[in-house]
């Protein structure tokens, strides 16, 4: 399978070049690809596979194993809510239920350009419930704080 997007192939090849000589380079390459495109495009996989002398299936297997890699462009905004025990002890489930109802989606859904994703631990376990909003960490999240954050995005 060859790609029909020469620009994409060119960019992926540049990324592959940047990672030459690295031991175990596939995850760093995939992170760089996702950083460049916002997701890991299907067309990038054969290019990576060829360079690393892996099969396309092997590369696909790695991409699909990890929660971080997306096969589609991200929403305009992403809200990640921690679901882990320490945050649950401070009401994370209640806040999550509020967030789902407000957006009208379940986990991994998106509405109004906002994607709602679960995350298991952001390391803010002494000041939960924790969230990450477009990369920025938020502590002691509650319904009002969530509404204010959402109000700033949509």
């Amino acid at each position: 399978m060859t790609s029909h997007d020469p620009q994409l192939v060119h960019r992926v090849r540049e990324i592959l070049n940047d990672h030459k000589g690295m031991e175990g380079p596939l995850l760093p390459i995939l992170h760089a690809v996702q950083h460049a495109f916002g997701f890991v495009p299907q067309e990038a996989i054969p290019v990576i596979a060829e360079e690393l002398q892996m099969t396309r299936a092997e590369v696909h297997g790695v991409v699909s194993f990890y929660h971080d890699y997306r096969d589609h462009p991200p929403a305009a905004h992403t809200v990640r809510l921690c679901r882990a025990e320490a945050c649950q002890a401070l009401g994370a489930e209640r806040v999550a239920a509020h967030a789902k109802a407000k957006l009208g989606v379940d986990w991994h859904g998106q509405a109004h350009g906002v994607a709602l994703e679960p995350v298991f631990c952001l390391g803010l376990c002494a000041c939960g419930p924790a969230a990450q909003v477009d990369g920025k960490l938020v502590a002691r999240l509650d319904e009002d704080k969530f509404d204010a954050i959402l109000g700033g995005m949509i």
Partner: protein, 508 residues
């Protein structure tokens, strides 16, 4: 005026960047010259953002600070509404034994000069004067055991790698701190990254490894950035590179970032992930110490294990061993989390009872309601009821009570927690994060969720089924994910039968 404002991720999430900006703006407005240092956290998360101002008597602490509290920092400090007193004299600090975290929150994390002023690099310098066997002996004699949770003696692991014959060996730092309630690795990497670098360099000298990797989480962008910068600084200063501190001996390292898979905190999954593969668990043997990264002998140690090595080399095995209790020697960085009044990091010798930790140090719950249960050791740790609060915090005592200390994270929950829900969550989490390699974990977790749901619907016959399933997962899983998920499940069932309605009915 010299002011410290933490850059720790928890402090930032609570507004420390905004406070730092407000301090600079206020200083400019008043024409006061301010040296703003972005330090790590002192570990008192309930007081974050904790701002410190240098005075003749020492550093004075203020917290939790908001931008509205900033202007008053430029007036009479003692009259400041958020004044807490001298940082070093706060009860939380006085009660600790800070060996591994001695510099965290104290120094500028990226100043090698301050690091050395605070006894940094002394351990590495001493290691350079010792033979490889003597370095390993020092670590072995200190009694240091794996702080990631397994508690395997670090010195024995190092000896296996040291005596292995290979053209290349590796030091891999497991910084994939995915357990809920744990943040010690993150705090150290953000607040004192040179200590980890020094520990890894010592490990490299001890076993003959010239290359190291820190494998950490994509959920920790601040720690990734801080470690990366610290490595560059250490390399430029000759701490890392072809000739460590001019010794002619090589050691270099880099940071690698995971991609959101909890199971990669398991050492063999981590190695596969580092190699660019699916993070699937490997069967042992072969041990990673003999066939680890790329099939070469590899030390895989947790952040806190490696970061405890510099002080051991500096002060000696006997000094370190002197702390602790029984076969749990040295200090442990307790992480108080969840519904806790005084949450944060507290480093102390092993041996306090769970009750002292929860009630005295943690101050009970943040909500002020009674503590119902404490999960010790992360998502794979057992839930402890108040009846077991006399358990001393050691590897052995927790094992004897059907639990584990893990990475020393403690999640407090008040009396509103439903333990059946927590048991279900543990199994749901295992199902989401299972790597799929072994059947007890892959299928057991899914069947476990269904079985808990049956119990919730009032099916008493499902209880022995859940117990049996947990036995199978415990003894038949390849790694701790499937093998330890039964801990939170069975402890919930055993210690809190009232939350499992059918058990309550059966008893009536």
């Amino acid at each position: 005026m010299r002011v410290h404002v933490p850059l720790d991720a928890a402090a930032k999430a609570l507004g420390s960047d905004e406070v730092a900006a407000a301090i600079q703006a206020e200083a400019a407005r008043r024409g006061v010259e301010v040296t703003l240092v972005r330090n790590g956290s002192r570990g008192m998360v309930w007081l974050e953002p904790l701002v410190e101002v240098a005075t003749d008597l020492g550093r004075m602490a203020f917290g939790p600070m908001t931008t509205a509290d900033v202007a008053a920092l430029f007036d009479d400090l003692k009259a400041h509404p958020k004044a807490l007193g001298l940082t070093e004299e706060l009860p939380w600090m006085l009660r600790q034994t800070r060996l591994t975290f001695a510099r965290c929150g104290v120094i500028d994390p990226l100043s090698l000069e301050e690091y050395e002023l605070h006894l940094g690099l002394k351990g590495l310098k001493r290691a350079l004067s010792l033979s490889d066997a003597d370095i390993v002996a020092e670590v072995r004699d200190s009694g240091l055991r794996g702080r990631g949770g397994a508690g395997f003696p670090t010195g024995i692991k190092w000896e296996t790698v040291r005596t292995a014959k290979a053209d290349q060996k590796y030091i891999v730092c497991n910084a994939d701190e995915g357990d809920s309630a744990t943040f010690a690795d993150r705090m150290l990497m953000e607040g004192d990254p040179f200590t980890l670098i020094e520990g890894m360099a010592i490990a490299g000298l001890a076993v003959g490894a010239t290359k190291g990797y820190v494998y950490t989480r994509s959920e920790y962008p601040d720690a990734v950035a801080q470690m990366t910068k610290a490595i560059q600084i250490a390399r430029a200063a000759g701490v890392l590179g072809a000739s460590v501190l001019g010794s002619g001996r090589a050691f270099d390292m880099e940071v690698r970032v995971g991609a959101g898979a909890y199971v990669c905190g398991e050492e063999t999954s981590l190695l596969n992930s580092l190699e660019g593969k699916r993070g699937v668990v490997r069967a042992k043997p072969p041990l990673p110490a003999l066939q680890g990264f790329l099939g070469k002998p590899t030390v895989v140690n947790n952040v806190i294990s490696l970061a405890s090595v510099p002080v051991i080399l500096d002060r000696g095995a006997a000094f370190y061993k002197n702390f602790g209790m029984g076969r749990s020697q040295g200090t442990m960085a307790l992480q108080l989390a969840g519904n806790v009044k005084y949450g944060g990091l507290f480093e102390t010798a092993f041996g306090l009872t769970l009750g002292e930790i929860v009630d005295d140090i943690g101050g009970g719950t943040a909500t002020g309601r009674p503590v119902k249960a404490v999960q010790v050791g992360g998502p794979l740790g057992a839930w402890f009821p108040r009846a077991l609060f006399d358990t001393p915090f050691t590897y052995e005592d927790f094992a004897a009570r059907g639990g584990l200390i893990g990475h020393a994270g403690l999640t407090l929950a008040d009396d509103s927690v439903d333990m059946l829900k927590m048991a279900r969550f543990a199994l749901e989490f295992c199902a989401i994060e299972s790597c799929g390699k072994c059947t007890p974990c892959r299928l057991g977790a899914v069947r476990g969720v269904e079985t808990v749901d049956r119990i919730a619907r009032g099916d008493a016959a499902a209880i022995p089924l859940l117990t049996d399933l947990c036995e199978t997962m415990k003894s038949g899983s390849l790694c701790a994910l499937g093998g330890f998920t039964p801990y939170p499940v069975m402890s919930a069932l055993t210690h809190f039968p009232g939350d499992f309605a059918v058990m309550r009915e059966a008893a009536e």
